[in-house]
């Protein structure tokens, strides 16, 4: 990087924009096969996560991995990243057999990874995280200035020059953390960058940004392995697709743009899935107002929000990450204290605190599964019943049999894999963990569901099931307030839609009156992202 070393002020925007994001190693040849996996097998106690995987990745391509939740995608990339060791099979890296004993070895070889689960050190700064393990050093002293500058540069290239390199990662929202993970991957000199569901926590415009970066990378001959459950993304950015099912490659090197969706889905699932939203009730069956929010305000998060949810109604909130949606949900749920405004359930003003909200019949599936929702070491069934075990208990004694039965019922509806509710949640794949988080509130007994990104990381099949369950609950009179970054999901599932921008509700309309472009325009108008390439 030809940046002046001493004066941070000279690291101006122009200088930043001209420097290449990642300097590709000089000997990179586009089109050459950089990675070839043959018959890769990896077992965990009781699970064969990879069962003979074949994969071939070329320099300069975006190679997409598709597969249902638990198909083995994350396990595969963890083997590549040196996190797991394969039981058998060959890894060929740039024409030579290779094995990566640890993540450092893989990074040295030029493989950088953005993991599905954020792996940042919360109490270190953004810059320290970005350069963790390969800090700039002088005689053992970390060169903070240089690291901060380089980090700032990477962040601006990622479209997030506003994140200060010195900020503690803990204080960033989920999307910000994802950006830092990406910055970390880009801080290496890499020939292959692996991205495990990078878009799951990103809003629409951020995904566009991500794609721009991916194109820059591949133009330099860097290969990208891209994992996502959103087929549209794969069509947009992908070159070739490899499909995994139950740890095996069921199709390799399909053209990403031209392979029909039903082909992809049937190779992933072994069946055809109607990816449609459940019908809305035809008559206006929604009942009385269940939730009434008036003038709710928290400085810097959202201002003067008023909304209502009727019994049996699904209300969707669309908006960018950072538009205050999650904070709003948490405030309604009593997890944050409002500065002004009231929350009423059934006409009664709620006292502050989650306890009161839960007693009034609310339930919330939070945004971040790992930090906000799961007991990773505990069995699945105890996670599913975390909010309800008291209800099945008698005289203070828990009823594990009943809890297992209830959890198993949810596991069946949401296609949890593997369906053994005694497994620790830690051993589940990301999408399956998400099903546990949402499933917790589908057991019944709640009057109002607050769902924050309920389908994050969930595969197409299970997603359709989840929509059915949510609609089914609404039909039984449950009110639902849904936050999602996926506009089609909000429009398809909700009866009524609120569009939020910068902490304010800018539009409210029946879902049928809006289309995706209208919502996107509303969401983006005047946002910080103006002028950024789409």
């Amino acid at each position: 990087m030809a940046l002046p070393e001493d004066d941070p002020a000279t690291a101006s925007a122009e200088a930043v924009a001209e420097a290449p994001l990642v300097e590709a190693p000089a000997d990179t040849v586009a089109g050459e096969v950089v990675l070839r996996l043959t018959d890769l097998v990896k077992t965990f106690p009781g699970v064969r996560a990879l069962d003979g995987v074949q994969l071939e990745v070329r320099a300069g391509e975006v190679h997409c991995l598709l597969g249902q939740n638990g198909a083995g995608k994350s396990t595969l990339i963890k083997v590549l990243a040196g996190v797991h060791q394969p039981d058998s099979g060959q890894v060929e890296w740039r024409g030579e057999p290779a094995s990566f004993a640890n993540p450092q070895a893989a990074m040295k070889a030029g493989i950088a990874t953005i993991y599905q689960e954020l792996d940042l050190v919360e109490d270190l700064s953004v810059a320290e995280n970005a350069f963790l393990g390969h800090e700039y050093r002088n005689f053992g002293f970390v060169r903070r200035g240089r690291m901060a500058r380089h980090t700032r540069q990477i962040l601006s290239r990622l479209g997030h020059g506003e994140i200060p390199p010195g900020r503690m990662v803990r204080s960033l929202p989920a999307a910000g953390k994802q950006i830092v993970s990406m910055a970390r991957a880009l801080s290496h000199e890499a020939r292959l960058i692996i991205m495990d569901e990078p878009s799951a926590v990103l809003a629409h415009d951020e995904v566009g940004n991500l794609f721009r970066i991916i194109r820059e990378l591949t133009a330099q001959g860097i290969a990208v392995i891209y994992i996502s459950h959103r087929l549209e993304e794969i069509r947009e950015i992908g070159d070739r697709v490899t499909v995994l099912k139950d740890g095996r490659t069921t199709a390799a090197n399909l053209p990403a743009r031209d392979t029909p969706t039903r082909d992809l889905v049937s190779r992933m699932t072994g069946r055809t899935i109607e990816y449609v939203f459940p019908d809305r009730p035809t008559d206006d069956s929604a009942g009385a107002d269940l939730l009434q929010v008036e003038g709710l305000t928290r400085t810097g998060e959202f201002a003067d929000v008023s909304l209502s949810v009727r019994a049996g109604e699904i209300v969707g909130i669309a908006g960018l990450v950072g538009s205050g949606r999650s904070e709003l949900l948490e405030t309604i749920y009593g997890a944050r204290l409002p500065e002004a405004g009231t929350v009423r359930m059934d006409g009664k003003v709620l006292r502050p605190g989650v306890g009161a909200a839960v007693r009034a019949g609310m339930g919330m599936a939070p945004e971040e599964r790992k930090s906000q929702a799961l007991l990773l070491g505990e069995p699945i069934y105890r996670n599913v019943t975390l909010a309800t075990f008291g209800r099945y208990a008698r005289l203070g004694f828990t009823n594990a049999a009943k809890e297992r039965a209830e959890a198993d019922r949810i596991a069946e509806t949401l296609e949890l894999r593997p369906r053994d509710v005694d497994r620790p949640v830690r051993t589940l794949s990301g999408g399956n963990q998400q099903k546990v988080v949402v499933g917790r509130w589908l057991l019944g007994g709640t009057k109002l569901l607050l769902l924050d990104e309920p389908t994050r990381g969930v595969d197409v099949g299970a997603r359709a099931e989840l929509y059915q369950v949510i609609r089914g609950l609404a039909a039984q009179g449950v009110g639902v307030l849904l936050v999602s970054s996926e506009v089609p999901e909000v429009l398809g599932l909700a009866d009524r839609v609120l569009v939020m921008r910068e902490g304010r509700v800018v539009r409210e309309a029946a879902a049928g009156e809006l289309d995706e472009n209208t919502v996107l325009d509303l969401v983006m108008a005047g946002s910080l992202m103006e002028g950024a390439p789409a």
Partner: protein, 375 residues
């Protein structure tokens, strides 16, 4: 597999491993086996977590090793079954008071806290229940006083920590100092003799050949196990310690529960105070010195995670018994208390190391063997 094959249910197609399961990844096995066994089907220890049972087997191994050491160093004594039985009872009796304190400590640590004030609470409760005034109410009054003092001091800890937002380490450290100070001022730094024969008999008597103190330990351990593994209180404890934010968002009152955990620890200290007073037929402000360290150490080598969310009562009990056995071993061999402390320190480190590494290294060995045989 062809595209047309419909799979109506979502079960994986190959749920079983081949007969000889291939070696598994070291790091993963360590995780999987440290965090609740995956496949363990219904068995009596189920609630304790499958891996807990595995770890406990390791502790029993340590215990067996200690017994072997005893048998080698004192073959004549260990040859006499009568002596052995009495020695076992002696060890259990030795373990009983700290054991009761450790049960409370285990709850606090699983709940994500720490209680450094347990020894001081035992002393304060002991002193309080042996004042002339309290003794005038008889044994019932003394027992009530000890338990009430324990619970109240525990509650103060709990309120400071959960509502005053003090760090547990600081709050209970302050309580350690304050409670000992209060005990010294109440007792005027004198040893207060208990004149209640009922209280004094607790430690002196046996029922069906087993000391009453051991029954009390058994009862507290059993109650602790049931509460941790079979009640909503126990479930909340694990949730609050494992992920407080998740617990809060699931509607659990984290603050109130944290407060109750310290009260529970205080209650255990109250029980321990009666036992210890009975053993000494007296109480004084310096009693139960450093019990907090013994209890924490026992819980840790028993597999309780210092960061909370995981731990077993059985493991803690084994930890206490191991320490008592070491003390006993040194006593029968006539060795110094200094040497004993050094060995104890070593055992704590060794136990934690073993827990961290045993699965990893075993599987790594397996993996290595497999690679070499394969090539």
């Amino acid at each position: 597999m062809s595209d047309a094959t419909p799979t109506p249910t979502a079960t994986p197609e190959r749920p079983q491993l081949p007969a000889q399961s291939p070696p598994v990844d070291p790091a993963e096995t360590a995780v999987a086996s440290n965090k609740a066994g995956s496949g363990g089907k219904l068995s009596w220890w189920r609630g304790d977590g499958g891996d807990g049972a595995k770890r406990n087997l390791g502790l029993i191994g340590v215990l067996a090793a200690l017994i072997v050491v005893g048998a080698v160093t004192k073959p004549d004594l260990y040859g006499d079954p009568n002596w052995v039985w009495n020695n076992v009872l002696a060890i259990l009796q030795l373990a009983s008071v700290v054991g009761v304190v450790t049960v409370g400590m285990t709850f606090v640590i699983i709940g994500g806290g720490i209680d450094l004030s347990v020894g001081a609470i035992v002393a304060l409760a002991g002193v309080w229940c042996t004042t002339v005034a309290t003794q005038s109410y008889g044994a019932g009054g003394m027992i009530f006083a000890a338990l009430a003092v324990g619970i109240c001091v525990g509650l103060v800890n709990g309120v400071l920590i959960s509502y005053g937002r003090l760090v547990p380490f600081i709050a209970t450290l302050a309580m350690l100092v304050a409670a000992r100070g209060l005990a010294a001022s109440i007792s005027n730094k004198q040893t207060q003799v208990s004149s209640s024969t009922f209280i004094n008999d607790i430690a002196a008597r046996k029922v069906i050949g087993i000391p009453i103190l051991v029954y009390i330990l058994g009862a507290v351990v059993l109650a602790g196990w049931v509460v941790l593994n079979r009640t909503t209180f126990g479930r909340r404890t694990i949730a609050v310690g494992g992920n407080p934010e998740a617990a809060r968002l699931a509607g659990i009152n984290v603050r109130r529960h944290t407060m109750l955990l310290y009260a529970l620890s205080g209650l255990c200290c109250g029980i321990a105070a009666i036992m210890l007073t009975s053993q000494a037929t007296s109480a004084q402000a310096a009693m139960a010195n450093l019990y907090e360290l013994d209890a924490i150490a026992a819980a840790i080598i028993g597999g309780t995670l210092l960061s909370g969310g995981r731990g077993t009562i059985v493991g803690s009990l084994l930890g206490v018994i191991i320490f008592a056995t070491i003390t006993n071993l040194f006593a029968i061999n006539g060795l110094s208390i200094e040497a004993q402390n050094m060995v104890k320190g070593g055992i704590i480190v060794a136990a934690v190391l073993v827990q961290q590494f045993q699965f990893k290294s075993v599987t790594r060995l397996l993996a290595r063997n497999r690679v070499t045989t394969a090539t």
